[in-house]
């Protein structure tokens, strides 16, 4: 398809020098000793005052991890990671017990302010201008859980959510306060033995968000988590667990940034979603980890396992992601369509520039009857980056009436990058109807010419084309995120036209 020159320009400009979240917050922190051993796992568990069953769960994962090998099938190259050269736990040193937002280290608050994350409940996300005459009440509220290195530092709007019966808290607290729910669902979608990085996460995860929406409840506001890696040599391993009980609905946003550092930092998260009968979960990510500089030095290694389980009938899980950051992205948000008539969706924009490597996609596993899925993936590669879509659509014997539509479009900006598409389509049921289409092209000269002839500058023309190219996905984002994402795409591509 004809992509917009604007997109092209924007992608080119992912010059790392323009990474605006690259600052470091000087703050004292409390770290586990470097390296990974059973002691590290015990240390983390003890720090979190976890019950014995949780420690056992972690240790089991750790022992299994020792027997596993790092997967090598993705189209990403990186030097061998020394897992003993990392800090697995880092927490801002508390001045005293924190009981309200005012007592949080002002440095951290400042960090989030710089990032534009509203920890104060009155604050609203920027970017959405209220129409004249419209009162501020028209703005939507968003509850935020902020995770700084290894721990959650603040969760907002807790009380209001509590009234609706929604549980939204750091997972470390949930383990203590709602052990039954955690025991029942933790590891039920991504088992501890799932893959190398998920197993590592199971052993050493330090925090993350926990959401439970009770039956029939429509979560009254968007929930959001903001992840920030601050410390040097720190791996961040967060774990998110979201459960939408029967008939519930929740929309969840996730954002990430990290300071500019010359060494690579590791991020290995696990996200598990469970949707019971008639429930719906919408999960949106804007991933903007530090991508490394223009020479390919530094940046985050992002090895993430995200999976949703449409466990109940008529349930729905929708993933939307805008991926612009990270030196390496290895991420396949998936849906297990177990319930009859369940639906999975995956909308993705992956932009790579500089020396970034993206290997991302999704898996739609059709198990129940009349399950449907939809995959829209837009990859934009610029600079010397490699951008791969890797996906799986499969229908098992009993998945009568399974239906999938997949569209993967790639746009290349410049002749030194690569765009690749690796879809797997497996049908074991004759009534399954799968359609897959993929295209790779550059921005059409004709389209550009048309725009420029009508008075647009080269940059504007490219921007127009790129926005058209990614429009299908942007539309899926909650409004506040869509505005941010659009800006982010512009920044990412700046300077890529030339």
């Amino acid at each position: 398809m004809a992509a917009v020159q604007e997109t092209v320009d924007r992608v080119r400009s992912i010059d790392v020098e323009q990474y605006k979240y690259g600052f470091v917050t000087e703050i004292e922190s409390d770290k586990a000793p470097k390296g990974l051993s059973e002691d590290t796992v015990r240390f983390i568990s003890a720090k979190k005052s976890e019950p014995a069953w949780m420690l056992e769960w972690r240790l089991e994962a750790y022992r299994r991890w020792l027997t596993m090998t790092e997967p090598g099938w993705a189209r990403v190259e990186y030097p061998k990671i020394d897992y003993q050269d990392l800090y697995y736990y880092s927490a801002p040193k508390p001045k005293k017990q924190v009981s309200s937002l005012d007592e949080i280290d002002p440095e951290i608050l400042k960090t989030y302010e710089k990032l534009g994350i509203p920890l104060r409940e009155v604050a609203m996300l920027e970017g959405v201008e209220p129409r004249p005459g419209e009162a501020d009440t028209a703005k939507r509220k968003i509850a935020v859980d902020a995770v700084f290195d290894s721990v959650s530092v603040a969760t907002t709007f807790k009380e209001e959510l509590m009234k609706a019966g929604v549980i939204f808290m750091p997972i470390s607290e949930a383990i203590r306060e709602h052990p039954d729910l955690v025991k029942k669902y933790l590891g039920s979608v991504v088992p501890t033995s799932d893959n190398f990085f998920a197993t590592l996460n199971s052993a050493v995860f330090s925090d993350g968000s926990f959401v439970y929406v009770p039956p029939g409840v429509r979560c009254p506001m968007e929930l959001s988590t903001y992840f920030r890696i601050n410390e040097r040599n720190t791996g961040q391993f967060e774990r998110t667990l979201i459960i939408a009980d029967k008939g519930a609905y929740v929309s969840y946003l996730e954002g990430c940034t990290a300071p500019q550092r010359d060494e690579n930092q590791l991020h290995a998260a696990v996200v598990e979603l469970v949707a019971l009968d008639d429930a719906e979960i919408k999960y949106s990510t804007v991933q903007n980890w530090y991508p490394g500089n223009s020479e390919g030095v530094g940046g985050i290694y992002n090895f993430v396992t995200k999976r949703g389980d449409c466990r109940g009938a008529n349930s729905k899980i929708s993933w939307t992601q805008v991926e612009t950051g990270s030196a390496i992205t290895w991420k396949y948000p998936s849906c297990i369509l177990r319930g009859d008539n369940s639906r999975g969706e995956f909308y993705s924009i992956a932009i790579s520039n500089g020396y970034q490597q993206v290997d991302s996609g999704t898996k739609m596993i059709h198990l129940g009857r009349n399950t449907t899925s939809r995959i829209i993936s837009k990859g934009i590669a610029a600079g010397k980056s490699q951008n791969t879509y890797r996906g799986l659509v499969t229908a098992h014997r009993k998945a009568t009436g399974a239906r999938n539509f997949t569209a993967c479009d790639s746009l290349l900006i410049g002749d030194q990058c690569g765009a690749h598409t690796v879809p797997y389509v497996e049908a074991k049921n004759s009534s399954a109807l799968f359609e897959h289409e993929a295209t790779t092209s550059k921005i059409s000269e004709d389209v550009l010419f048309y725009c420029i002839q009508r008075g647009l500058s080269q940059e504007e023309a490219v921007g127009l084309v790129v926005n058209g190219f990614v429009k299908d996905v942007l539309q899926q984002l909650p409004m506040e995120f869509a505005v941010e994402a659009q800006k982010l795409i512009s920044i990412s591509l700046e300077g890529s036209v030339g």
Binding site: R397, T421, E426, A438
Partner: protein, 443 residues
């Protein structure tokens, strides 16, 4: 990380090692060829038979599907030769030049070698090897990894085949029909290697048929190296109708020059396990390649078409169309990869794969892949899997056509989209007849 774990050798792997050890002395070729063979077998022995953890063989696990290794077939005797007169019957009436390979050995006495056109030479591979010509590695593009297991095994064990050359500028009007036949006296393995070199500006058509008896358990590993010169026009058809118990692994290595026209069509309707792998290197600019495939599968057949098209030069066009009709408990596999190298700007490549599933126990696996390193390209692929459209069926049935016939009509139309693209009328009609025959058996 650590070293990859090497699972215990299977019976078939041990058998292959035995066969290589005992037959290496008697395989044709001097010391140079023997060294090439030894290196190839080492490559094979290191990795063993490909299995589902080997990405290129993900859906065709030879470790599981190939239970044992059959001994190399003995040269055909008079009795065996007498049994092959009706081989290649599909094209018997079309007057093609027949070259017969019986039980893995080229049979000059059964072949039509009279009145060769100017510029055409035909020899047996065994003869060529005996002269120690470095043919086994000739024409291999850089895209084929030396450790590709099926190819390595073939290099190690190939006994015979044909060597055909067409001089530059020659036009060979009469299609050349390579009749590969197994007479089935014993459970055996046929390992053949053929080389076809078509010079610049030359034109020729090649047809391969592979067949054998239904009740003999045999194995085939066949390789065709095809070199297409600049501005040459080559059509190649491969018809696989092996017996119902056969394991058939075929590799096509095609190296296509500039401004050439290359038409390829694979038709698969027989064999228990069939793997057709095609490595096509588009080495010159301005070339048109048209690759098509049709598989008609029933029973417990397993047929895999794996295609890698490597655009290494600018301004070329390729079209890949693959279709399969899968009934009963059969399984169709299609892996197609289009690679575009950085220098191959202005490449135009489109791949389509469509599978029709006729039974709830049938399975279709597809992996259409794009690997693009150049920006000014038009590349795309489309893949669909589904069953017969109920509405179309209803339309026909509402007009008084019985259900089975309505289905047959729709399947014929589906398959026809591949068969009808064939330019040669005789071949087109023969393959349409074969398709109708398959539908007839479906009952």
């Amino acid at each position: 990380m650590g070293a990859a774990i090497r699972p215990a050798r299977t019976i078939a792997e041990l058998g292959l090692a035995d066969i290589y050890a005992t037959s290496r002395q008697s395989l044709p070729g001097g010391t140079d060829i023997a060294a090439v063979r030894a290196a190839a077998f080492n490559h094979f022995a290191l990795a063993g038979l490909p299995h589902s953890r080997v990405e290129a063989w993900k859906y065709t696990d030879l470790r599981r599907l190939m239970r044992d290794a059959k001994p190399l077939a003995a040269p055909p005797d008079i009795k065996a030769k007498a049994r092959v007169h009706d081989a290649g019957a599909l094209f018997a009436t079309l007057g093609f030049r027949r070259l017969v390979i019986v039980n893995g050995a080229f049979a000059a006495d059964l072949s039509d070698l009279a009145g060769l056109e100017t510029g055409l030479t035909i020899r047996s591979m065994a003869e060529a090897l005996a002269l120690d010509e470095p043919l086994l590695s000739q024409g291999l593009g850089p895209m084929v990894p030396a450790d590709e297991p099926a190819l390595a095994l073939n290099t190690a064990l190939a006994g015979d085949g044909v060597v055909i050359t067409v001089l530059p500028g020659a036009t060979i009007e009469r299609p050349i029909h390579l009749v590969f036949v197994n007479t089935g006296a014993a459970a055996a393995a046929m390992v053949t290697r053929s080389l076809v070199v078509v010079g610049g500006g030359a034109r020729a058509t090649f047809v391969e048929t592979h067949e054998g008896p239904d009740h003999q358990d045999y194995q085939v590993n066949t390789v065709l190296q095809l070199v297409v010169g600049d501005a040459a026009e080559v059509d190649h058809f491969k018809i696989t109708r092996e017996g119902g118990a056969a394991v058939h692994v075929a590799t096509l290595l095609a190296n296509i020059g500039a401004r050439a026209k290359f038409n390829e069509l694979g038709f698969t309707a027989g064999g228990a396990v069939v793997r057709n792998q095609l490595f096509v290197l588009i080495a010159g600019k301005g070339t048109e390649a048209n690759l098509r495939g049709l598989s008609l599968l029933a029973g417990r057949q397993h047929a895999d078409t794996t295609l890698a098209v490597d655009h290494a030069a600018a301004g070329s066009q390729s079209r890949e169309t693959f279709k399969a009709v899968v009934d009963d408990e059969a399984r169709s596999v299609f892996q197609g990869k289009i690679s575009v190298r950085p220098q191959a700007q202005q490449t135009d490549a489109k791949m389509t794969t469509r599978v029709l599933l006729l039974s709830d126990n049938a399975e279709a696996d597809g992996k259409p892949e794009l690997e693009i390193f150049a920006d000014d390209v038009q590349c795309g692929h489309g893949a669909t899997t589904g069953t017969l459209d109920d509405q179309l069926k209803f339309y026909l049935m509402a007009r008084g056509i019985p259900e089975k016939e309505a289905e047959a009509l729709l399947i014929q139309a589906f398959a026809g989209e591949v068969v009808e693209t064939i330019g040669h009328e005789g071949i087109r009609d023969a393959l349409m007849d074969a398709t109708l025959g398959w539908l007839g058996q479906r009952g």
